[in-house]
Amino acid sequence: MGKYVGQRIKRTEDPRLIKGLAHYVDDIRLPDTLHVVFVRSIYAHARITGIDVTEAVKSPGVVAVYTGKDIATTVGPVPCAAALPDLKVPDYRVLATGKALFVGHPIAAVVAKDRYAARDAADLISVDYEELPVVVDVEASAKGGPVIHEKFGNNIAYTLTSGEGDIDAALKAADRIVTQRMVHQRLAPVAMEGRGVLARYFPGEEELTVWSSTQIPHLLRTQLALMIGIPENKLRVITPEVGGGFGSKLNVYAEEALLGWISIQLCKPVKWIETRRENMQATIHGRAQVGTVEVGCRNDGILTGLRYNVFADLGAYHQLLTPAIPTLTGLMLSGAYRIPAIQMNVTGVFTNKMSTDAYRGAGRPEATYVVERAMDIVAAELKMDPVEVRRKNFPAKTEFPFHTATGLDYDSGDYEAALDKALDLSGYQKLRQEQTKARAEGKLIGIGMSSYVEICALGPSQAMPAGGWESATVRIEPTGKVTVMTGASPHGQGQETSFAQIAADELGVDLHDVTVIHGDTAIVQYGIGTFGSRATAVGGTAVLIAIQKLKEKAAKIAAHILQCEASGLAFEGGRYSKQRAAAAATGVSEPDVAVGEAPAGALPEPDTEGRSTLTIQEIALIAHIAKELPPDTEPGLSATYFFEPKNFTFPFGTHICVVEIDKETGETTFLRYVAVDDCGKVINPLLV
């Protein structure tokens, strides 16, 4: 444990948040900002036969009104980054043209001097619709019926089979096969702050700045540049404070491109703040799978194989990762178990709904639910304790790295230890006795459990659509302050604190001398963003390695000034010391050298004469003044590192939940919840 890493440290980002002084997109106020309100489809599937904007254009305060025909050829389609074999990709225009395909599909954009005026005018736009039959049920629409995208001939976007092992043989070899229909309901992510975009174009500089509530500032910049047709290096994306994402802001949305484009047309700042109703309709949804799991097992509870046939409700279009989400379910179908053969057959189906995409776990919780439900059904079928069925199928601690029949290599794990800990903490045996007694008294008490494995630290670039690394730049300024720039984009995860903890410990400086900067493409080197439990595992590692690079250079400078070999230096408490290295060998300690305070308003003059120690902050100043550097040394003290992870990480755990259900009302009461989670290295116990 370091001075900071591993310690319970209050977040440095909190003061501005608890005082109401932070800036989310809508809190940024630029002079002359125009406001945008969208007119959206009230039908799930309809032909748009006319749009009358005459009254809206005349409405007080209105500056412009745009419809699909205005932008059809000028703003590129909403992108999908998922590449699957034979994937059908519909042309997803930023405003509907011809047909509206889901409730909330944007049809027109009204720009006015304030948001009330824009809303007034939006109400004056008259859209004529010819209603069409609606596609809602994935199983039915995969078979036939109305077609959403006529050019594809049916509603099937793709089919994909994944997994390893001979599933037919595995199921045939089983003593029993249990089958269960699985329904993962569609949901809305509902971050407390909806989406919001502010765009400002400077026609002279030809520069567009887009403030967006997003999890992926750099990926958004690249995609918006392509959609709007502006050079990427003339586009700056800033993510100010972001009020929650949960995957819903791991995306590129029509509104983001439209706002940028409108700002360019009008040469004024334009702002759109999503209403909650829009957020429910037109921000991505999650889950929405309907399938059947078949599990083969022997009479002793050992699993032989698992097959999951599933229909994934993709919605009307592909957002950034829509078709890829169900493939993550396929990856995690081995759960915490040794299952010799696994197969997933997924059919991705278009429906007249908003797209599904990444939400809290993104396909992986679906897998956990499928596998854990299957374990319970197997236990019931065999009249075994669900604990024992799980235990029998865990790979042993010694079997890691463990290869699954879904094609993954779990790095490490001790699933039985987590299970035993959860059993112990919950008093499982006693709970079962209490349950039996309560049931005899007519009460409904249920004990549920889940042993899970997560796939985190997304991920090796080979397994990701467009880069899975993360970047960091660490710079020590002439005054000794440390600036950390991360390509991750924290929005509640607390990395302004945890990355500062890493940097402060590694550099031996005060935590408050470190500032972590993120979410501004004009300042921070290209990064991937925050999603998929990756920011600390991948982005934090990038910070650590960047610091190691920086310290290699600092040590060279220190050795030059202190007139010794870099290998003869000790680094401790932010200070390079030649005596200490020698002293450590002899057991004799030297007192610290006092460093003179600089007068206010002036840089301290590095006095290097006869010194036996130098702080890394002094070295930063020496590196900037650059008069006493070793030959062929670049001035300045900063380092950038792009960290490419070799594998995902696979944390695991067991949760046990005890509930009581009121027979009369159906009301559920939580009696007990025990969670045992493998956290890995804890940087800040307050935040874990």
């Binding site: 977040r11 003061p15 608890i18 109401g20 009330y116 407390m192 949960f246």
Partner: protein, 157 residues
């Protein structure tokens, strides 16, 4: 037709002419520049916009500015006194009662009223008292602990 209003916000008097339909939260945010009060749902469900109107926790997204004529209002920006945090702000910081921070101002304001009314609330009372405030990040556990911390701290003052 605009209407004249006089409102005291965080101890400062404001006199403005506003549209009768202007929502109080928009008055605070856009006319006064007090953007710490957030809009989460526009329907009084989520509580992100909670402020104190004459000492009562009110959801400012469903009140008109003209309805607050003559009122004394406290927003999150006015909670700290002389630069020191209110015990509730301290509690949220100390107990990690926030992640993204969007619900936090409304949550803190609602919780201050809760401990004003009930200085020593049980966990259940805290959860019940904050039912009108939604948080999507924390799972509420640390929020309950933050309020407990603040109640204790306030009792010691």
């Amino acid at each position: 037709m605009n209407q004249a209003i006089s409102i005291s916000v965080n101890g400062v008097d404001h006199h403005d002419e506003v549209e009768p339909r202007l929502l109080l939260v928009h008055y605070l945010r856009e006319l006064l520049g007090l953007t710490g009060t957030h809009v989460g749902c526009e329907t009084s469900i989520c509580g992100a916009c909670t402020i104190l109107v004459d000492g009562q926790a009110v959801k400012s997204c469903t009140m008109f500015a003209v309805q607050a004529d003559g009122a004394n209002i406290t927003t999150i920006e006015g909670l700290a006194t002389n630069g020191s945090l209110h015990p509730m702000q301290e509690g949220f910081w100390e107990q990690h009662g926030l992640q993204c921070g969007y619900c936090t101002p409304g949550m803190i304001i609602a919780a201050t009223q809760l401990i004003d009314r009930n200085p020593n609330p049980s966990r259940e009372e805290i959860r019940h008292g904050l039912e009108g405030n939604l948080c999507r990040c924390t799972g509420y556990q640390h929020i309950v602990e933050a309020v407990e911390y603040a109640a204790k701290k306030k009792a010691e003052l």
